[in-house]
Symmetry: D2
Subunit: 342 residues, 4 copies
């Protein structure tokens, strides 16, 4: 089944206000956004663009360091200034979106942009998975600071003379506004945010629960590639041109972001400790199976025990992220059948 | 590269005392083991078999419930009795193994055995990933008890009329004895044990750090298939005939189990909370890259951030398990230094 | 040493802009605040009052349920509506406060107010220390809902015919605004917030790091008494008249709230998992000992191992809270170096 | 009420086989134990002494380092050898103790012994509350090693010229054998072990659930004083002469250790993460209130929210320990009363 074919069967295409049919096309360029990047996910910012359900938006995002780490001689502790990290494009207002709806975002493309070396990774003091942090507060000396610049194009990430990694781009951060909170764009949570989940990639549809009128879609933090967990806290960060197709599902009650691809359904949870992120993700997947596919809750719990997949998004952000998924064909069987073993 | 070919380049084949060449063949049948299954990993049991490095052993394991859950009417709370759960075959004494060595175990095959329905899964009170437990001690009413029996053969796991899952067998529990401790076979730890990691499957080699003279290899807890995290705590449990090729690497200092397949190297960590399991696994992988493949430690940390994979073994046992892995071809490039391991 | 005497030696009295001398007196009554309670700690609200360093403010706070749980027949799931919980009075703007300063708040009195039964505690679905929650996401049935109303006056909390608990009031929630975030008043964090720490009581001084011009002091969530950890998530909630003496310390760099009483110094940390809250609190106490009292860092670490005290604030909020404290007389001895702070 | 008076009303005196009446007196000296200290809690050791319920035993314990850290020039990494740490005296067999019983141990006295400086604390690599460890596995450089020797007598702990801390002795480690496990004496768990809880002090009674015939009481790890959490992992370690009065309660079902003093009842939990230790402790306290004092479970949960106390034992061992307690007078009121507020 080609990508276009499965999309017609997707939740977005079947339940979206615009029926998954692309509408007008918008450009949200650097020039439009410049000087107004956002460092919180919240309702207090002015929308930079308003779109209708079905519209397609091309967004020029800047990298997580707003381009401030230009050379390997730059020191993160001098160039970066909390809380002004992980700049987000947006917010994009979606006409008609209300609390209780779901924003569906089909990611069409994520292209790298800007002069080489476009890719940046770094060791930032007191941040990362294998170091003491501001939360796992220890007395050990911090790790050394480091900046590494790498060339990136759509054919690869040129780590070293010997190692070329594939270009596997995704959005580290995407989400909508909380109802009354404004939360650092470093954090992932029930509205999306800094999930750093590699599945949020071209071809996938992400579903985000709306809490504020107009939804207020934010995005940024493009990654050229990232391993599970984003171990040191910094993927191959890059500026991007990201193309999104946005639709709106009215009155769909989901508590956490969900994701759909050609092959699987995924529920996404973010929390500390990490097991709570996994619990959230898997409970949402169980509830999804029960609410939409006819499974008994305990049956779904037992079945997912055998065939659920867990993807570690990040183990470094203010909350950690896990995606729990299951093959669509399994979900589609539903649960109301006799058990052959009895 | 065929399975046989890559095996000749494996750490086991290159560093094992027997050079990865199969030696004598042993049968550890139910009849030999019967009545002496073990519920702890420890040095206080009598070996049931002694083998030389290189020997191949065929082991008849019983399922995690020792076959006591025979029908869907059985109640776990009546049939199961702590701490006599997860019965282990062995211990197998390996001649010449000493503290500071590593046992290498190449898994040749895991075949289901016994009358149908051979497969068992269950909801056990106060056990599982989405329920209060004896550790996450809550006042909520427990989930209902359940037993589900399923037919299993090498072609599939027959969950229901509509759903046949693939037969993807592995050992939920395998390891060697601690030096002086004897720890419940429900727990995974630095010596292996109940990791419930689906990568411990036919074709893989697992490396286990020896702490006790003779190593004392235990195994059991065969699974016909399991999802990431073993969500409800019980995979498709089955009795097996498991064939293992065992070798010994002298004087190799590893702190936690490691695993090798045709395609990747994996380090395995077990701890609570779950992020500590991930930290252990990834730190061991970083250290492996530095010790054996010529990487600078910080380079390895930054590179694995981009290409490391994390597998959630279990999120239900007394310690949770994560395997962190990286493609062999990447590891083999080494860092900026020359790569000694090729 | 009488309360008035030790206060003259406090950090607030010695370092405050107003030297700990009470200035003008303000009333922030219900009538002034009414209709504008806040459910986030953030910079986006309009100050309801502006004061000078040294000023004394009497604040009428409402209870954490905004008085909506009036009888034991009320159901929390019907009366309460997320995220409009834990209403805060304020924000109070403090003239001259800037990022990098510290607000010092001496709590003079917390008196109960309103008609009897004034005190309310409750079991709220998916909230509390011994139940599955929205983060520790489980499939168990929720606990029953409950509301319990109790009479409260300054002589006691009249739990039942047999049990009268002492009136030991404190502010469950107090803090200043983050720089750009607006965070639910249910959460404690680096700026204070919903710490639910019984030491934040009359007689104590709390020190809060300023992040926003004018500081923006919020407070609410008066408790008539509470045990360590606020086990079920709801203390004896009460409306209060709270009297605060506020001063400003310029250019004092602290990362987390601190507290001073006649007898001890305390550093306060909030995080998940709970050990991270304890790590933050103790690391801040170690750093305090080193920065202000002449201790070598490792000496302070070893000494606090012997004489540090830990108070569990809450184990139920979005972050858990621990206060780590040490007797003042010990801190004042300094390390082997001279002690500059006396 | 004098100590002797309250003891006559204790659970031990009321329910013990010997009725709390002291029986024969035994001496378990260094000479008797020498060369056979134990580093695991388990059933595989030979009892060094057998006593009857009611007997009093005076035990000479060695310090947690078995006296190997003699001067401040000793390096822990050279002198200490895992897993041979925290040597335990015993096991003491108690006649008639069976699985399902409870051992009651009234601590009469803990006197320091050995030549000055008797007290030892230390920084041990990868161990402690504010450092990366073998479980919280990080890449940061370890903290420096340190040994500090201090004079200790029954009047004080002579930390420095300026600081004399009180002598507040307790047993860091005490417990009985698991049924089939043998677990490092560094770990606290359901059978007791290395709880590092300062309440296990002279005057207190500790109740330990028996799992093995004869109970097999172990003890060691005397502390001259310790702060909450045992921050750096090493209290003021000392050799002791400890006097214990031991009794046996038949057929009492408790899941975790409990403790009684003149003033309060305490339940003790050990787990990671730390919130799970707190959950265990508080759930056991709720269950105790319901089982023995007539409280409705939800009433007890709500009441302990207002008046429960939590003591942080350790935040450094393989499991962390929390004691949850409540004043006896409150527990003794029971729960079956009308609520005056209705």
């Amino acid at each position: 089944m080609a990508d276009a074919d499965w999309f017609r069967t997707s939740i977005m295409a079947r339940q979206g206000v615009a029926g998954g049919v692309p509408g007008r096309r918008h450009e949200l360029t650097d020039a439009v956004q410049a000087g107004t990047y956002h460092y919180v996910y919240g309702p207090y910012a002015e929308p930079v663009l308003e779109i209708d359900p079905g519209d397609v938006v091309s967004v020029e995002t800047v990298d997580a360091f707003e381009g401030k780490l230009k050379t390997e001689q730059d020191r993160p502790s001098e160039k970066l200034k909390m809380p002004f990290l992980n700049p987000q494009s947006g917010p994009i207002r979606v006409t008609g979106a209300e609390k209780g709806d779901v924003l569906a975002v089909h990611i069409h493309a994520i292209a790298p942009r800007g002069p080489q070396p476009r890719g940046t990774t770094a060791l930032v003091p007191e941040f990362g998975g294998l170091t003491g942090t501001t939360a796992t507060a220890l007395l050990n000396a911090p790790l050394p600071e480091r900046v590494k610049k790498v060339n990136v194009d759509e054919n690869g990430v040129y780590w070293s003379d010997r190692i070329t990694l594939p270009y596997e781009p995704f959005l580290g951060t995407i989400g909508v506004s909380p109802e009354i909170e404004a939360i650092t764009s470093l954090q992932p949570d029930y509205y999306g945010g800094n999930m750093d989940l590699p599945d949020v990639a071209p071809g996938a549809i992400i579903y985000l629960p709306v809490h504020h009128a107009g939804a207020f879609l934010y995005l940024g933090d493009g990654h050229a590639i990232q391993g599970d967990g984003e171990l040191c806290g910094v993927a191959i960060e890059q500026a991007t041109t990201t193309t999104l197709h946005v639709d709106l599902i009215k009155g769909l009650d989901i508590a956490w972001p969900r994701l759909e691809t050609k092959d699987f359904y995924m529920a996404i949870g973010s929390a500390r400790p990490l097991e709570d992120a996994a619990r959230i993700a898997y409970r949402e997947l169980v509830r999804w199976a029960a609410a939409d596919f006819g499974f008994d809750t305990m049956d779904a719990y037992m079945l997912l025990t055998q065939c659920g997949k867990a993807r570690l998004g990040n183990m470094v952000d203010p909350k950690y992220t896990v995606g729990a998924s299951v093959a669509k064909w399994i979900m589609h069987q539903g649960g109301d059948q006799a058990s052959p073993a009895q």
